[in-house]
């Protein structure tokens, strides 16, 4: 894992459908300046910038790091652009952390964004090369069959997805940056919305958001303020077309979790992790990832959700921020998970702070559930 690394600053924009008041540069700069302010630093103090976002077709700007170098104070410094599909926000944090863990830099600014209002993400995701697997019509069309297979295998009752959709939106009401805020959200409201991709209803899917998130990462010597220490980092990828790949509970997710738990000395994630920010873009992915990440035995994840274990007042709160279901600037969604995990262990999550959070998991996934990025952060120095 290399040298010690800590999060010393977090900045987020308000997530919403359209940010007409800012350009793409203005959007990323807003998050970056807030992260720097949190760290008590300025652009001058930063050694390198790492930027991530999902496909460039979402905004129609190819390799936008070239254009965004000025807005992020990167001129004269190294700048790297990460793209690992939906997991990219998480990977961006890990590439930034790697620069510190490898002893190359002392202070790194990581930023991820999406300005989905610049285009139509569903159609940007639906073009594909001849003779290659397609993501069908949008991500929901691709993942719905995986969810149905999970329901078949586990025998989970139909309402579990609804419970997650309600729980995450209730949490979002406590998060000033969250996009979807639906006062009085309840099961009936979710169940009355149209079916998009069986069994995913409208309110069981993530919104399309504009937004950016940024973090300042520091080496041990440069830690200021309240740090969230990085205890483990891992990425795993697996091929789309392997014949015996389990798309419901991918091996890459299991391996990535095992790696990050090993580094952090975690043997029982359900008990040793206090709060988890997990990439759940469709409600059913909460029970699926509960199993994939080892919080529940195979086929048992939905029971934790049903029993309220993952609720804000449960024994293992998942997505206290409202999660991807409440805010989804796609390229930033993974970084937001990592940043929210850091805020929790810094005790700086505000109204959605989980009492006594000392150890947190940040998780992101992408592609056809084949790219995974995770980290464990803690209040204690590792």
């Amino acid at each position: 894992m290399g040298n010690r690394c800590a999060v010393i600053g977090v900045g987020q924009t308000r997530y919403q459908t359209k940010r007409r008041d800012v350009s793409i540069a203005g959007l990323v700069r807003e998050a970056a300046l807030r992260a720097l302010e949190d760290a008590g630093l300025t652009f001058k103090d930063i050694d390198a910038v790492v930027i991530g976002k999902a496909p460039d077709l979402f905004e129609g700007v190819m390799m936008p790091e070239a254009y965004l170098a000025d807005a992020l104070g990167a001129a004269g410094k190294p700048m790297t652009r990460v793209h690992t599909a939906g997991s990219v926000g998480g990977s961006t944090a890990l590439v930034g952390a790697s620069l510190i863990q490898g002893g190359v830099h002392d202070r790194v600014l990581v930023v991820a964004f999406e300005k989905q209002s610049e285009s139509n993400a569903t159609w940007a995701l639906s073009t594909h090369l001849p003779f290659n697997a397609s993501l069908v019509v949008g991500a929901g069309g691709y993942f719905a069959p995986h969810i149905r297979e999970y329901m078949r295998r586990s025998g989970a009752p139909d309402h579990i997805g609804t419970l997650v959709a309600v729980k995450d939106r209730q949490n979002a009401l406590k998060n000033p940056y969250a996009h979807l805020k639906i006062p009085g959200i309840n099961r009936q409201m979710v169940e009355s919305t149209p079916m998009l991709w069986e069994p995913i209803r409208y309110l069981e899917t993530c919104p399309s958001s504009d937004g950016a998130c940024a973090m300042v990462l520091a080496s041990e010597d440069k830690v200021t303020g309240t740090p969230a220490w990085v205890h483990g980092t891992a990425m795993r990828s697996e091929p789309m077309a392997r014949a015996d790949r389990d798309t419901v509970s991918p091996q890459a997710g299991k391996d990535c979790a095992a790696d990050v738990y090993r580094q952090a000395g975690i043997t029982d994630p359900r008990r040793e992790i206090d709060v988890a920010e997990v990439y759940v873009p469709f409600s059913w992915y909460e029970p699926m990832w509960l199993e994939n990440l080892g919080f529940a035995a195979e086929g048992e994840g939905w029971k934790l959700t049903e029993a309220g274990c993952t609720a804000f007042d449960g024994d293992i709160p998942w997505n206290a921020s409202g999660g991807v279901l409440s805010s989804n600037p796609i390229g930033a969604s993974g970084l937001i998970r990592f940043a929210e995990a850091a805020l929790q262990v810094r005790g700086m999550a505000g109204e959605h702070q989980v009492d006594g959070a000392r150890t947190a998991l940040g998780h992101a996934y992408g592609g056809g559930a084949q790219f995974f990025a995770m980290w464990i952060v803690g209040a204690q120095k590792p």
């Binding site: 540069a25 496909p55 077709l57 070239a66 790297t80 990828s237 789309m240």
Partner: protein
Amino acid sequence: MREVAVIAFAQTQHTDHDEGLTDFELIHPVIQEVKERTGLSRFGFTCSGSCDYLAGAPFSFVSALDSIGAWPPISESHVEMDAAWALYEAWVRLQHGDVDSALVYGFGKSSMGDLREIMTLQLDPYYLAPLGLDQVSFAALQASAYGAGRAELDEIVRRSRADGRNNPHALDLGDPAGEEFEVAPLRPYDVAPITDGAAAIVLAAGDLARELAERPAWITGIAHRIEPHYLGMRDLTRSPSAEAAGRAAGVGKGPVDVAELHAQFSHEELILRQALELPAETVVNPSGGALAANPVMATGLIRIGEAASRILDGGAGRTVAHATSGPCLQHNLVTVLEA
């Protein structure tokens, strides 16, 4: 820093037209070649570079995982940049000390679209892209600002193409001829050719490098810098980011036998020679460089591979590789390799 070396390099026989290969068909042979050459079938880390806009589809890098045999799942990342930056990320990852090998690859098929127009989409979408200046026009502005002599540019192209004809992987292009301009002052032959291709490199640390290669090409310096995007904020006659990256990588700390420069336009070679303060005796782009084969997103990685190969094959003791990204040499990465 931890000792890390290039121990194997492979590249396709680049073509000036679409051969009907998908991205993963293009990559597969070069991945196999570096696996066979090193005897490694698994790597501690894998990183690649490619660009969705060349394929005209999102996630063009995803199918590449199928061709590299990513099973059991691998520790892997991707940059939407030239794969030279993927190599940088892998080099950083090897500094952690817990893994000893890394696979890096890049690929691009610029035959699939109109590269000049596609590269224009890299510009600030609000203030620059709508002006309609394309990549070649931008380069012409820089060539004009630099004020290179025609004879000097012609000689760069003539030498690059002659070297390219001797490089089995590069295109066979004739001596420069013709008086017409592409965009003045650049003639068509001053512009790197449309090329499809891929390349792969294996990095290894310390003892593993010594075990797997007779003469590893040790990375003794590697650094990159970006500069402002807007041309009005830059002195186009020089490349301050290449100068800074070259100093940080330590180019001037020893002799430079060979330099492989990612010059996609002939005048860029002149700017880069100055920025890196290359001695007169340095042999520049013996492979033919980007002017003889420019598989976009792999071209920069190929420069590192070519510079490393001169050491691996015993022909040189200290070499420099350069990669670039962004309009008018906005972003530059410099690698110093030593025997």
